[in-house]
C-alpha cells in the first residue's frame, strides 16, 4: 500500500459490486462500515495478502497489538472452474479484456449463463477478525474489504485468485483449452534471447565497428493522430485524459512541423509566447473555449495575441505587447516622406511616438527597425500583416 490518501475506493463496476456485497452483509449493523472506510484511509491496514479463498491482513485498532483479519471467499469447485473457463475461452474478447485490466460484463453474463457467479454474493463473503467486537463485519474487516476493492479495480485477476486460481494458472488453463498442448511435438527451439543489455564492456564499446546512420522516414502529409488509450485514467490520478490529449496533441503537431522543417520546438518560448502560440493553433477550433478558460486571459486580448502570432510569431507578439516609444524624429519624418511619395495625402498622416497614423491604420516602428501594420478592431489595435522593412510596403495605393 502506498501512503496516498484515497477519496474513493472504486472506479470500476466490479469493485463496486464487491462493495455492494459487503454492504448487503452489513445491513444488520451498518454503522461499522463508515468506520471501516476511515480505517482504510488512515492506513491502519498492513501486510494484506490475497490468496486463493482468503484475504488476510493486520489491522491496527485501539489496542497496542494489531488484530488479525481474514476475509474468506468461497472458492469455485472443479466443476465451476471448468464451466467458467469454457465460457471465457469461447470468446477471445473475454481474455483480451482481462489482460487489458478490465472485467468485461460479458464474461460475468456468459459465466452466469452456465451457472457460475464470479462476483461473490453476500453469503460467499465471510470476514473473521480477532477483535472482541461481535458485529459482522467489524470495522477492521470492513477496512480490509474496502482495500480489496481497490485491488480488484486495479487487476481483475485478483478476483479470480480469490475464487481459487491465480493469473498464470488461469492463463495456462485457457491456453490448454484453446488447443495448445494437444501438439506433442518436442520443440528444438532454445529459450528466448536475453532482453536489451543495459551495459557492455567499455573495451568492446571502443573496438566495435560502427555502421551507417539511418535516414529518417520521408515526411508525412499531415500530423499523426494520438494513439487511443484503452481506458481513461483513474479518477484519482493527478492528470486527466483531456489534459493529456491537449499536451500530446500539441506536441504531435509541433513534431510533425519540425520534421518538415517548418517550425522549431517552441521549447525556448516564455509562457506568454507559448500561450499565444497555442492560442493561435486553437483559434477557430473547438479547443478555443478551453484555452481561454484555462489561460485566465481576457478572450478578446487572447484573440489579439493569437492573431499577432499567426502573422509573425514571437516578433508579432512582441510588436503588439511592446510599450510605445519615441524614435528619433528624423526617422518618423523619413517614414512620412516615403508615404507621401507613395501618394498618401500628407494631410491624412499623423505621427504619434513610434506610429504613423492614417485613419484606422497605424504603421508602427519596432526597436529592430521593422514596420508593423495595425488596424483598429473592436477598439483595440490589432496586428494586421507580417512586418516590412519600409512603411510604404504596408500601404496599398488603392487605400
Amino acid at each position: 500500500m502506498t501512503g496516498r490518501k484515497r477519496q474513493t475506493f472504486t472506479t470500476t463496476w466490479w469493485a463496486e459490486a464487491w462493495i455492494e456485497a459487503l454492504e448487503q452483509r452489513a445491513s444488520i449493523d451498518p454503522n461499522r462500515l463508515p468506520r471501516g472506510r476511515t480505517y482504510a484511509r488512515q492506513d491502519r491496514v498492513e501486510g494484506m495478502v490475497l490468496a486463493p479463498g482468503v484475504v488476510s491482513a493486520l489491522v491496527h485498532g485501539k489496542r497496542p497489538h494489531p488484530y488479525r483479519v481474514n476475509v474468506w471467499v468461497r472458492e469455485f469447485d472443479e466443476g465451476e472452474w471448468d464451466r467458467f473457463l469454457d465460457a471465457v475461452v469461447a470468446k477471445a474478447a473475454h481474455a483480451a479484456a482481462l489482460l487489458d485490466g478490465e472485467l468485461d460484463p460479458g464474461i460475468v453474463d456468459d459465466a452466469h449463463a452456465v451457472g457460475v457467479d464470479l462476483l461473490p454474493v453476500a453469503g460467499e463473503l465471510r470476514p473473521r477478525c480477532s477483535c472482541p467486537d461481535w458485529a459482522d463485519p467489524c470495522k477492521h474487516s470492513a477496512a480490509v474489504c474496502y482495500l480489496v476493492a481497490v485491488e480488484l479495480g486495479r487487476d481483475p485477476f485478483a478476483l479470480l485468485e480469490l475464487r481459487g486460481r491465480n493469473r498464470s494458472r488461469v492463463l495456462a488453463e485457457l491456453r490448454r483449452r484453446r488447443g495448445a498442448g494437444t501438439s506433442t511435438e518436442e520443440s528444438t527451439v532454445e529459450a528466448a534471447p536475453p532482453a536489451v543489455e543495459r551495459g557492455i564492456p567499455a573495451h568492446d564499446a571502443w573496438s566495435r565497428e560502427v555502421g551507417e546512420l539511418p535516414d529518417p522516414p520521408p515526411p508525412r502529409p499531415g500530423p499523426g493522430r494520438l494513439s487511443a488509450w484503452p481506458v481513461d485514467p483513474p479518477a484519482d490520478a493527478p492528470f486527466t485524459a483531456d489534459g493529456l490529449a491537449a499536451i500530446a496533441g500539441d506536441a504531435i503537431d509541433r513534431g510533425w512541423r519540425m520534421s518538415r522543417g517548418d517550425a522549431d520546438s517552441g521549447l525556448g518560448l516564455n509562457i506568454d509566447a507559448d500561450l499565444a502560440r497555442r492560442a493561435a493553433a486553437a483559434l477557430g477550433t473547438d479547443r478555443w473555449g478551453r484555452v481561454v478558460e484555462r489561460s485566465g486571459v481576457n478572450a478578446r486580448e487572447l484573440v489579439r495575441r493569437a492573431s499577432a502570432w499567426r502573422h509573425a510569431g514571437e516578433d508579432g507578439l512582441r510588436a503588439v505587447t511592446e510599450a510605445r516609444w519615441r524614435p528619433a524624429a528624423a526617422v518618423m519624418v523619413e517614414a512620412k516622406a516615403r508615404l507621401v511619395e507613395a501618394r498618401v495625402p500628407a494631410g491624412r498622416i499623423r505621427i504619434d511616438r513610434n506610429a504613423v497614423i492614417i485613419g484606422e491604420v497605424q504603421l508602427r516602428l519596432s526597436h529592430d527597425g521593422r514596420w508593423w501594420r495595425f488596424e483598429r478592431r473592436s477598439n483595440r489595435w490589432e496586428l494586421a500583416a507580417p512586418p516590412a522593412a519600409e512603411p510604404d510596403e504596408l500601404w496599398d495605393v488603392e487605400e
Binding site: A95, V189, A205, G211, A237, D274, E341
Partner: protein, 913 residues
C-alpha cells in the same frame, strides 16, 4: 552550438528522463567554458580507463532545435551527427502520434515513444549500430572491469527523453489544467501505476499484424490472416492459427505472445470495428472482409491500426499499382520563337502496370470496378477511382511547368511530382537549352564603350540566348564581376526599340546611372523616381531606373509600358513571394525578365524559388509543393534524386560565377575600384542644406585666416552629415534609418558575408568607427574595431582574431600608421569616407594593410550622391592636376576657391530630376 568541429557529445540519462543532458567535451583538449566534470570511459593507449573530463552541460530542451537543424554539410564529430539523427527519428515518431504517457522507475510521470512499427525498430537498431563510442561512453556505476551504457540502451533513453521534453513547453500546464506530464518538474503519478501497466501491453514481445489474402477465386471475398512477429527477432513470424496450438517453449521466443495478440486485437477493434468480429471467436485467426472494409484498409484505417499496435501487411501481389504517366504534348506544331513561354501545352495520361501499357477496354474495366482491387492481366490491381478519374482528363499545362518536365523529367500535378514524358516543340526547346554550351561567346555590341572580359562575353551570350527564348533567368555572379556591364551589353545588343526597365534598391540607382553613362554613353537613361516622375515620351531603347518602392507604388503605370527587358537588381528584394513588392513586380510584363543577385541563392532554395518564379513563372511549380518535394528533401534529407532533378532543371536558368573560380581568376585584374553612390535620407538633406546655407552666409562676410577656418569647418560638417547625422550631432543613437551611407554599407557587408568573405571598413573618424562598430554588431555582423589608441598587444590580438575568421567586418579608424599588418583574409575594402587623397587611400587599401594576398581585391568607395563628396570625386577623376595638387593630404585647395566656386562645390544637387 556545434560550431566547433571537435566537440563530442555524450548523453547522460537521468530519472526523470527529460532531465537527461548532453555533455559536450573535446578529446583533444579542454572545451571552451566548461561548467562541469564527467567521468567517461575513454581509451588510453590499448586499454580503456575511467577519466574525468571537463564538460559543458547542454540540457536536452536546448539541444533539440540545433540538433534538428544541423546542416548535412556541417563539420561535426560522429557523436554529434548521431545525436542529430536520433533527435530527428524521435521527433518524427512524435509527429506521427506515437506519444504515450508512462511512469518511470522512481514513479515520475514521463512521455515515451510507442508503439513502434517494425520499420521504426529497424531504424533504431541501425542507429544503435552506428552510435560511435564517444556518444555512449558513460560508465555503469561500480562496474569492474569497467562497463558502459550499451548503444541500444543509450539510444532508447535518449529517444524517450526527447519524447518527454517535447510536450512540455512553458504554457503546457496551463492548457492541460494539471502539472503532471506538462511541467518540467518531477510530478509523482504512482497512484495511477496500474493504468500505465495497461498502456505498456501494446509493446509486448511480439508485434501483431493482419495480412491481406487474395480470394482463391476472382469473385470471392478477401480475407486477412492474423500474424505475430517477434520484436526481438523480426524474422520469426507466426500465424495466429498455429500460435494457439504451439508448444510453450516456442512461444517463449515471442515473449508473452498471447497477451500481445489479444490486447492488440482489442485495441485495434476500438479504432477499426471490423476487428471486433475476431474477438468473438475462441481462436481468432482469419477475418473475412467485405470489399468496403478492404477499401478502408487501403486508407487511413491502416494508420489508426498501426498507432493502436496492429500493422496492416499487403502482399506485393495485391498491390500492383496502375502507373499513370503524364505525357505533355503541344496540340499544333509550333516553332520556338522569342515567345517561348507562350506555347500551349496539353496533358494526357497513359496507364500501365508493370511497364505494360493498358488498353482502353482494360481501363474501362478499372474505371467501372466496384471493388477496390481488380483482377487484370493475371494480377490484382488497385483500382483507385480518384486517380483513375484523371485518365479522362485533358488539361492545359503552363508552359513553365511543361518546360520543367522536359528538363527535369518530372511534372508537378495536383501537388504531386510524377515522372512525365514531353513531346513536341517544348521538348526541342529543352534540348536547345541543354545543348547551350558555356563556351559560347557574345560579341560586343556597337555602342558599348567597354571591353568585356572573356567571362563577361560568355555571360552576354547566355543572356542573349535566354532573352531570345523569352525565358529569362538569374545572373548570380559574385559581386565585382560586372553584372551591370553585362546587362548593359545585352540591352545594346537587342535589335529593338523597346525600353528596358531596371528595378533596384534606392542605394543602387546612382550606380546604375553612372555605369550606363560610362559604358553605354549614347543610351538615354531616366530615373523614374521622386514626386515628379513620369513615363511620358520614352525614347527608343531608353533605360528606365526605378526603386523597388516606386515599382511597388506605381506598378500600374509601369505595367502600361511594353518593355523589352525587365531587370531586378539585388533580387533578394523579391525573395519573399508574399510581400507586396514581389506581387507588384509580377504585374510588369516584358519579353524577358532577368534577376541579378550577388548572394549564393542556390543554397536557399525557397528564396531561389521566389526569384525564378518571377523570371520564369511556373518553372518550379507552386511554393508549397516546391518546399515539400524539393527544398526539404534536398536541404535536409540530402535526397540525391531530388538534388539531381533540381540541378538539371536549374542549370539552364542560373548563371553563377565565383571570383574564386580557377577559370575566372586569371581574367580578373588584381584590384577593382568601384564607387558606391548612395542617396541621403530626408534628415541628412535637411541638415546638409541648413549647414551650407548658414556657413556660406558667414563665409561671404569673412576673409583671410578666419575664412579658411570656416571653409574647413564646413567641409568637416558636411562629411560628417554624409556619414551619419548622429556623428554630426554627436549623439549615441539611434542609428537605423537615418543614413543612406550606413544602410548602403550594411547591404554591402551582407553580400560580402554571404560570399563567405570579410571586409575592412576604413573611416577617418574614431567617433564614426564606434558608431559603425555598434550598429554592425546590432545587425548581427561580427565586428572588430581597430583604432589608434589601442595598445600594440591588443592590436595584434584583433588582427589575429580577424585572420582566424572571427569577424565579418574589421572597422579601422586610423591614419595609415601601422606597418605590415597582415589582413589577408579580406578581399574587400570599404572606404566609408574619403581622404580626397588617392595616395593615402591606396596606402590604406593595400600597402600598409596587406590584404587579399594573391586574390583579386575589390575597393568600394562610399559616396553620397549630389553632395560635396560626389563633386570632389568627379573633380579628382577629371582633373588630374588637381589630384596631384592634393597629394599630401591637404584640403587647403578648397579654401582657395572663390565664394561662387565654393558654393557650387558644396551645394546639394537635386538628383531626383
Amino acid at each position: 552550438m556545434f560550431g566547433d568541429p571537435a566537440v563530442e557529445a555524450t548523453f547522460v540519462p537521468t530519472d526523470p528522463v527529460r532531465q537527461g543532458w548532453l555533455a559536450l567535451w573535446r578529446s583533444d583538449g579542454e572545451i571552451e567554458a566548461p561548467d562541469d566534470e564527467l567521468e567517461l570511459a575513454l581509451p588510453a593507449g590499448t586499454v580503456v580507463r575511467r577519466r574525468r573530463v571537463p564538460v559543458r552541460r547542454l540540457p536536452l530542451e536546448r539541444a533539440i532545435d540545433p540538433l534538428m537543424d544541423l546542416a548535412a554539410t556541417a563539420t561535426v564529430t560522429p557523436s554529434v551527427r548521431a545525436w542529430s539523427t536520433a533527435t530527428r527519428l524521435a521527433v518524427e515518431l512524435a509527429g506521427r502520434g506515437r506519444l504515450l504517457p508512462s511512469m518511470t522507475a522512481m514513479g515520475w510521470g514521463a512521455w515515451y515513444l510507442g508503439p513502434l512499427d517494425p520499420d521504426d525498430v529497424k531504424r533504431r537498431r541501425r542507429l544503435s549500430a552506428a552510435l560511435p563510442p564517444a556518444a555512449h561512453a558513460v560508465p555503469l556505476l561500480g562496474s569492474r572491469p569497467v562497463r558502459v551504457w550499451s548503444p541500444e540502451g543509450m539510444v532508447e533513453a535518449f529517444s524517450n527523453a526527447v519524447a518527454d521534453v517535447l510536450p512540455r513547453t512553458a504554457a503546457a500546464p496551463m492548457v492541460a489544467g494539471h502539472p503532471a506530464f506538462a511541467t518540467r518538474n518531477a510530478i509523482p503519478v504512482d497512484g495511477a501505476a496500474g493504468w500505465f501497466v495497461g498502456l505498456r501491453y501494446s509493446e509486448g514481445g511480439a508485434s501483431v499484424a493482419i495480412r491481406l489474402e487474395p480470394p482463391k477465386d476472382g469473385d470471392g471475398p478477401f480475407a486477412a490472416a492474423v500474424v505475430v512477429q517477434s520484436r526481438r527477432d523480426p524474422s520469426l513470424v507466426l500465424e495466429a492459427e498455429e500460435l494457439w496450438t504451439m508448444p510453450e517453449v516456442v512461444l517463449a521466443r515471442f515473449g508473452d505472445v498471447e497477451t500481445s495478440l489479444l490486447v492488440a486485437m482489442r485495441r485495434g477493434a476500438r479504432v477499426w470495428p471490423p476487428m471486433e468480429r475476431l474477438l468473438q471467436e475462441a481462436r481468432p485467426a482469419r477475418l473475412q472482409l467485405t470489399d468496403e472494409e478492404v477499401g478502408e484498409l487501403l486508407g487511413p484505417a491502416a494508420d489508426d491500426l498501426a498507432a493502436a499496435g496492429v500493422q496492416v501487411m499487403w502482399p506485393a501481389e495485391l498491390l500492383t499499382p496502375v502507373e499513370l504517366r503524364p505525357v505533355v504534348v503541344t496540340p499544333t506544331p509550333a516553332v520556338v520563337t522569342n515567345a517561348g513561354l507562350s506555347i500551349e501545352a496539353l496533358l494526357k495520361w497513359e496507364a500501365s502496370i508493370d511497364g505494360e501499357q493498358l488498353t482502353d477496354s482494360e481501363l474501362a474495366v478499372l474505371a467501372e470496378a466496384k471493388r477496390p482491387l481488380v483482377r487484370l492481366r493475371g494480377r490484382w490491381v488497385r483500382a483507385d477511382p480518384e486517380r483513375l478519374a484523371r485518365l479522362g482528363q485533358r488539361r492545359r499545362v503552363g508552359a513553365g511547368a511543361a518546360l520543367a518536365a522536359a528538363l527535369g523529367g518530372e511534372l508537378q500535378i495536383d501537388g504531386e511530382r510524377v515522372a512525365a514524358d514531353v513531346e513536341g516543340p517544348i521538348a526541342s526547346l529543352a534540348e536547345r537549352l541543354r545543348s547551350f554550351t558555356s563556351d559560347r561567346v557574345g560579341t560586343e555590341p556597337p555602342g558599348l564603350s567597354a571591353t568585356l572580359r572573356p567571362y563577361q562575353q560568355r555571360g552576354l551570350a547566355w543572356l542573349q540566348e535566354m532573352a531570345d527564348l523569352g525565358l529569362g533567368g538569374v545572373l548570380a555572379d559574385d559581386m565585382g564581376l560586372g553584372k551591370t556591364v553585362q546587362v548593359l551589353a545585352l540591352h545594346l545588343s537587342r535589335q529593338t526599340t523597346q525600353p528596358t526597365l531596371v528595378v533596384c534598391p534606392a542605394s543602387l540607382i546612382g550606380n546604375w546611372e553612372r555605369e550606363a553613362a560610362r559604358f553605354a554613353p549614347e543610351v538615354s537613361v531616366r530615373r523614374f523616381h521622386g514626386r515628379e516622375r513620369s513615363l511620358d515620351e520614352l525614347e527608343d531603347g531608353e533605360i528606365v531606373l526605378a526603386t523597388y518602392g516606386v515599382a511597388r507604388q506605381d506598378a500600374v503605370a509601369l505595367a502600361g509600358v511594353t518593355w523589352g527587358l525587365v531587370v531586378a537588381d539585388e533580387a533578394q528584394a523579391i525573395k519573399n513571394p508574399l510581400a507586396r513588392t514581389s506581387r507588384m513586380m509580377r504585374t510588369i510584363h516584358s519579353d524577358a525578365r532577368f534577376a541579378l543577385t550577388g548572394t549564393p541563392v542556390e543554397n536557399r532554395l525557397t528564396e531561389l524559388w521566389a526569384i525564378l518564379d518571377w523570371t520564369t513563372p511556373g518553372l518550379l511549380g507552386t511554393l508549397e509543393t516546391f518546399r515539400r518535394e524539393v527544398a526539404i528533401p534536398v536541404e535536409r534529407h540530402r535526397d540525391p534524386h531530388a538534388t539531381e532533378t533540381l540541378s538539371r532543371l536549374l542549370r539552364p536558368f542560373l548563371l553563377r560565377r565565383r571570383k574564386s573560380d580557377p577559370t575566372i581568376v586569371p581574367e580578373l585584374p588584381p584590384k577593382t575600384e568601384t564607387d558606391q553612390v548612395v542617396p541621403l535620407t530626408a534628415e541628412q538633406v535637411t541638415l546638409y542644406q541648413a549647414v551650407v546655407e548658414e556657413t556660406m552666409a558667414k563665409i561671404r562676410d569673412t576673409d583671410g585666416i578666419n575664412r579658411r577656418g570656416l571653409v574647413l569647418k564646413l567641409l568637416t560638417a558636411l562629411k560628417q552629415i554624409c556619414n551619419h547625422p548622429a556623428q554630426y550631432l554627436d549623439q549615441p543613437g539611434p542609428l537605423a534609418g537615418r543614413s543612406g551611407k550606413l544602410a548602403g554599407v550594411v547591404d554591402l557587408l551582407q553580400v560580402i558575408r554571404d560570399e563567405d568573405d570579410a571586409a575592412l571598413v576604413f573611416t577617418q573618424y574614431v567617433k564614426m568607427g564606434r558608431l559603425l562598430e555598434h550598429h554592425l554588431a546590432e545587425q548581427g555582423m561580427r565586428t572588430l574595431f581597430f583604432h589608434g589608441s589601442l595598445p600594440v598587444k591588443r592590436r595584434q590580438e584583433l588582427v589575429d582574431r580577424f585572420q582566424h575568421g572571427e569577424a565579418d567586418a574589421f572597422v579601422i579608424s586610423l591614419r595609415a600608421g601601422g606597418t605590415g599588418l597582415n589582413l589577408t583574409r579580406a578581399t574587400h575594402v570599404i572606404h566609408y569616407d574619403r581622404w580626397w587623397n588617392p595616395a593615402v587611400e591606396d596606402q590604406a587599401s593595400d600597402r600598409t594593410w596587406r590584404i587579399g594576398q594573391d586574390r583579386p581585391v575589390q575597393v568600394h568607395r562610399m559616396i553620397c550622391e549630389g553632395t560635396v563628396e560626389d563633386r570632389i570625386a568627379t573633380l579628382l577623376e577629371t582633373k588630374r592636376e588637381l589630384a596631384e595638387a592634393v597629394v599630401g593630404g591637404s584640403e587647403a585647395w578648397v579654401t582657395e576657391l572663390n565664394d561662387d566656386d565654393l558654393a557650387e562645390l558644396v551645394a546639394l544637387a537635386d538628383v531626383a530630376s
